[in-house]
Amino acid sequence: MSVALTLLLNGLANSALYFLMASGLTLIFGLLRVVNFAHGGFFVWGAYTGTFLASALHNLAASIAGGAAVGVLLGWLVERGLMRRLYGDATQQLLITMGVLMVLSELVRLIFGPNPISAPAPTSLGRSWVVNGVPLVAYEGFVILFGAAVFAILQGVLRGTRLGALIRAGVSNPELLAARGIPVRRVFTAVFAIGAGLAALAGGLSGPWFGAVTPDMGMDMQLTAFVIVVLGGLGSVGGSLLGSLVVGITTAIVSYFAPSLAVLAGVVVMALVLVVRPHGLMGQREVA
């Protein structure tokens, strides 16, 4: 029983990080119709910036915020500099975003070296308790709460604000949005930057969660995020929450019993779902 609870908490913390990645990916796809292969690059920059700032400032909030800010900035630059000229050309966009991932990961390797850098949790969140045999780690709780808060804020923004209405409108018909006098390109840039910021946020949180940051973690996280959006249905925020929960908890369980197979778990679950529902759990068939 206590093992199950431990695994559940562990899985929820995974899910929270995954959700930050996947929701950005899915938002960007929903609006811009681009699968952003550079997402892992934003993640890894968030992770390294966060770790660097944490060791320099010893302030959790500042380091996470700094990581996210770097992500937003990178996203803004990539959208403005590269993506903007290629809308409507899906293959070339995929190729470009892949190139961006390559460059961002290699830059990290160049600046910080190829070896893992340890990223301890801040002392305020380094504590843990054992309650009824279940170890409760403060940082784990923090990550879960953070993920839940981001989900709530995202939903709130999408449902209740003008920006949210613009994003939803843009998802269904960007041209009509332009005809209503909205500078759609700017909404595109904003969403790309927000998505990149969410990925970097996930990066900043995951340094202390994994205990270390490595240049390859971007690619690994990216793959998990892809599994999740394919599983949940590309373009659906609800789907990425569901997918994150499934993959996060499955990963926690499988890595407890068979650590070396953990990476297989998500892909196998995704494959099973795709056999039954080719468009994912909450995805919708593209309207012709």
Partner: protein, 360 residues
């Protein structure tokens, strides 16, 4: 671009009399017999080189160029000729390399071990391509890119996992005992060259056959090809499988030539993206563009590595390649060979049937 593509396709065909009707457009191209002549000279030069200059660093580089050239050409069949984008070509390359390495290790370096390993690798690749195609081709283009990336990465992790240490030696990699028949650098060199020649011949024939015409139709306008009655997904699956088998052979040749295999053969950046880069730089849809790209990149890579002693940052050639790659995709989408061959400008990637008109 169509003309150049056909031109190359025709070049790849030994007998000019067999040039089918689609080659007619190409027949009017001015460049004529030159490239075929060039191709023969290059082939003979490649055969002669080690006989004259002996083996060494250069032949090792050439072996790599031959195997990666074959790999890149098989990838071009997907990207340039059928218009589907995979980020996981390493799944086949790595499977071929590991299958041969494991077969030879289990079979104590005997030829039977090699053959069994090779057969198992090909069979594995066929199954793999079937599964990936079934999962992703029914949905949308981007799914194929994502799922190939994921599957390729998973295989890499599996190859390095402790659970399989008994057969793969996990992260430490396997030394490949080369069978007596193939020992000797020249034999391996010739084998790699033969693989390249065979690939060029087979692919040239494929893209020039009626099947190749259907692939062109799918690339240009898949929806229309389907509404005319071509089973599009079946053709895409077939191409994916063919490309996978060639990549498997390339992986096997690579393992033999290096006589060592580790998880880098499954590496996304090192193989999947590298081969994509080769094709994009050389020119997608030109068949020989991938070979050109492989030659350029591998030569540059070797050069970087040799001068890196004085300047360690030069080891980061992946960064340079990444930047080069973005620049090429962004500003030179036809690649080198593509730009050279095609004077008439139609965008390569653009599916011009559904022109985007919106200016938002």
């Amino acid at each position: 671009m169509r003309r150049g593509m056909r031109q190359l396709a025709r070049m790849a065909q030994r007998s000019p009399g067999r040039a089918g009707p689609l080659a007619r457009v190409a027949d009017r191209m001015p460049s004529g017999q030159g490239p075929r002549w060039l191709r023969a000279v290059l082939f003979i030069a490649a055969v002669m080189y080690p006989l004259v200059f002996g083996t060494g660093g250069i032949t090792q580089l050439l072996e790599q160029i031959f195997t990666f050239g074959a790999l890149a050409m098989s990838y071009d069949l997907l990207l340039g000729y059928t218009g589907i984008l995979s980020f996981g070509h390493a799944m086949f390359f790595g499977t071929g390399a590991y299958a041969v390495a494991i077969g030879l290790n289990q079979g104590d370096g005997r030829l039977e071990g090699l053959l069994v390993g090779l057969a198992a690798g090909i069979a594995g690749s066929l199954v793999l391509s079937g599964i990936v195609a079934f999962l992703s081709l029914r949905v949308r283009e981007a799914y194929f890119a994502m799922i190939t990336l994921a599957v390729g990465q998973v295989l890499g992790v599996l190859a390095g996992s402790q659970a399989l240490r008994a057969v793969t030696n996990a992260g430490d990699g396997l030394t490949v005992p080369v069978p007596d028949l193939l020992s000797g650098n020249l034999t391996l060199y010739d084998m790699c060259l033969a693989l390249l020649a065979l690939t060029a011949w087979a692919l040239g024939r494929l893209v020039h056959s009626p099947v190749g015409d259907v692939l062109a139709a799918i690339r240009e306008n898949a929806a229309r090809a389907k509404s005319l009655g071509h089973p599009v997904v079946r053709f895409q699956t077939f191409v994916f499988a063919v490309s996978g088998v060639i990549a498997t052979l390339a992986g096997a040749a690579f393992a033999l030539a290096q006589s060592f295999v580790n998880t880098t053969v499954y590496d996304v950046a090192g193989v999947s993206l590298n081969v994509l880069l080769m094709v994009v730089i050389g020119g997608a849809g030109t068949l020989y563009g991938g070979l050109l790209g492989a030659a350029l990149l591998l030569t540059a890579q070797t050069w970087f590595a040799s001068v890196a002693g004085g300047a360690p940052w030069l080891r980061e050639y992946m960064l340079a390649f990444g930047i080069l790659y973005i620049v090429v995709v962004r500003f030179m989408p036809k690649g080198i060979l593509g730009a050279f061959l095609h004077r008439r400008g139609h965008g390569r990637w653009r599916k011009s049937s559904d022109c985007k008109t919106s200016q938002i």
